[in-house]
Symmetry: C2
């Protein structure tokens, strides 16, 4: 039995996952992000530095450990790609050129109780830009744009909505409003996803110490969203003034403007996004998938003033992390995302007799030399059986060797004379296609 | 500090590793092998079924495990990709079409004491063909050919030598010779890599119970090798006759003939290869890399009569596994394999002023739209500084925006007028190139 929380990726699903990973990588590299792969393990010291995530770590031990042979370094599996990246930057700071752009696509592990949409092993795709001492703001725009472009290439997914906000904006707004405890306001506003507005309103008064009018204003701010910069006058119309608010508004407007022209994914300012429990200091990102809102955010991140620090030097960064498994597994489970076939083969070369195998192999090699994935039938069964074998695997074409070769499209039944040196299937049949089928029962 | 045995793959190295993985995947898929990804963990029951590898398993525990919350299933990291594949086949036998071809490229973990060329975390690339009840012999030829073709695409590696033998051949030979303990002979012959022939000769007499003449014959057999089928008469000339020997000779000849015409990698019959401690029953594979013979075999496998069995049904298979990390890390460490640059960017767009950023971004987007990885300078420093920044990263071209754009090849110093809508770098500069430099000091 598969172990709960550890998804197994079957071939048809793996084609879809590989298509996602390939497209992400292509986009990240087009923008100059370099690939990095850190080990799956870190020392427990590194992993528990932040404290709160401590209980989710999987610790390793050798089944028959010899006394003292690991030099007393306790090891655990990494639970995200940010902790290893921060460790990497500190260790390699002298050799890196800053700003340093890296992408990292790896599995991470969390020893959580498994529940809907939570995995103990899952793949993340992270991009970050990091600098020494200072990191210009335009990298916030860059990171938003690169991830938005990457998401826009995943055209077989349900519509995605990249929601952007800015911590300066909301902190400035709450401060300008006279809130006595800005962090408390943020925590309550962060609950709007799960709790009705009137409950949040009461908590803003009871817990965060606002007046009813101030609470109204906070909820009004949280309702502002726009896929263009029209959120700016909408916020200004609320009448709150603060230097930090103005700075945050300008930054958020720059991110939204910087993502203009990207089609296939919506990038919008959403002033409800707070990511209250994180260490972000400016831009923040969340992403929701239409029809899968209950998953929460599938792609999140933001600006942090100190991704890493060795005590003397501080390394600010901005980054965003896509939960690839979190995005895909629910689609697989609902049967909404699948692949046109479970094998790479576009062609099955039929085998008339075992003696013909060398000739059939030679035909297959001619096709493969031109990039056409091909297999040769395992045994010389009747052709009807060989065709049904191809059908069960979704292989679209069966090749019949002979003095004149013929190739059959087994979906239409069309059969035509063909030359193995030049015949090519239609582009859409060359590789398994990822298919989104909303109406699969 | 990096943790001993857990290699970290820096960007320049990761480009090389990704090139290897991409080429393997392309070849495997061209031959109809489907991708599979199993979880990193298996139940400890599964992992310890074979017994002998037990002590190398890393067991997981949650740092703050709640009593009983894992349902008492102890989990460990997989130490190869064969055990998970066997478990997968048994679990999914009802849904799979046989013969089932799969490739699997994943990390595996072994809790070994680290030593030269041994890793605790490493990437393997496995292909296997598995069937129910019987698997025709021609799949042995197929697996040999597919891996040989895959290896031949890794043209930046030192010369590789895929060595093939057949357990039937050597068992039949020893039996036909009258050896009282065939397995003992195989174990001694298997030591020829590490021990002088005369020591093996003594052991064949003392431990395996052969006469001196029989021992001579065994060593004579072990010395036979050929990259064509000339090994057949060479073995026959030794005068031993046995049905199993004849069958093994025919099978081995078929594998060598099936790999004819592959260039860039040597495929040869080598009658010394025994893989004595494994469960192989026919064809066996090992692979050696020139100049790195001390690594031992970097790509091994063979035919097994029972990859998996549920007690009623048996699933025979044939497979081969490439140790990607084992192959690449020593080359990285000796500095013999590297990449032409450590960033994907082929072009740096110079930034005259911060006000020009939008225009520079637009140029970069035009280049990226045509597949040219491009970054824009982080700050509007003097052009000399921007060029040196590109130089340090190995970015070959710097783009100077203006009314007429110009692009400079910073290696030659050549600078020419260029149009961002049509300019393309030479193909070899488009992506980082993997470079084998034997003469790096």
């Amino acid at each position: 039995m598969p172990i709960s929380g550890f998804p197994e990726v079957l071939p048809a699903q793996r084609f879809a996952e590989l298509a996602v990973l390939d497209r992400l990588r292509t986009t990240f590299e087009l923008h100059g992000f370099a690939p990095l792969e850190t080990p799956a393990v870190e020392s427990l010291d590194q992993l528990t530095r932040k404290g709160e995530i401590e209980k989710e770590v999987y610790v390793l031990r050798r089944l028959h450990a010899d006394a003292g042979d690991d030099g007393n370094v306790e090891l655990g599996l990494h639970f995200d790609l940010t902790v290893p990246f921060a460790r990497f930057v500190l260790e390699n700071a002298g050799r890196l050129e800053f700003p340093f752009r890296r992408y990292q696509i790896q599995k991470v592990w969390r020893g959580e109780r498994p529940q809907q949409g939570r995995y103990r092993e899952f793949t993340q795709a992270d991009i970050d830009v990091i600098a020494r001492d200072t990191l210009p703001f335009h990298h916030d725009v860059e990171v938003a744009r690169v991830m938005a472009e990457a998401l826009s290439t995943l055209d077989f997914l349900p519509p995605l909505r990249l929601q952007v906000n800015n911590r300066k904006l909301i902190q400035g707004f709450y401060t300008g409003l006279g809130a006595p405890d800005v962090a408390a306001v943020m925590r309550e506003i962060d609950k709007l996803d799960k709790v009705p507005a009137e409950v949040v309103h009461r908590a803003l008064i009871g817990t965060a110490g606002l007046t009813s009018e101030q609470a109204d204003q906070c909820l009004a701010l949280a309702q502002v969203s726009s896929a263009d910069t029209s959120f700016v006058p909408a916020v200004e119309a609320l009448g709150v003034k603060h230097e930090l608010l103005a700075e945050g508004l300008a930054e958020l407007a720059a991110v939204i403007e910087g993502c203009a022209g990207i089609t296939g994914v919506t990038v919008e300012a959403d002033l409800r996004i707070a990511r209250g429990l994180d260490y972000y200091t400016g831009t923040v990102f969340e992403t929701r998938m239409q029809g899968y809102e209950s998953l929460g955010s599938v792609c999140s991140g933001g600006r942090y003033d100190s991704l890493a620090s060795d005590g003397k030097v501080t390394y600010p960064g901005v980054g965003i992390s896509l939960g690839v498994t979190r995005l895909l597994m629910p689609l697989f489970q609902r049967g909404e995302l699948s692949t046109s076939r479970s094998v790479p083969s576009a062609v099955l070369v039929a085998l008339p007799n075992e003696d013909d195998r060398a000739a059939c192999d030679a035909i297959a090699q001619q096709l493969r030399a031109r990039g056409i994935a091909t297999e040769v039938a395992a045994t010389p069964q009747k052709f009807g059986k060989q065709i049904r074998y191809a059908e069960r695997r979704g292989i679209p074409f069966v090749w019949f060797p002979g003095d004149t070769h013929e190739v059959k499209d087994i979906r239409s039944g069309d059969q035509a004379v063909a030359d193995p040196a030049v015949w090519t299937p239609p582009t859409e049949d060359l590789h398994p296609q990822v298919v989104f089928t909303e109406d699969i029962p």
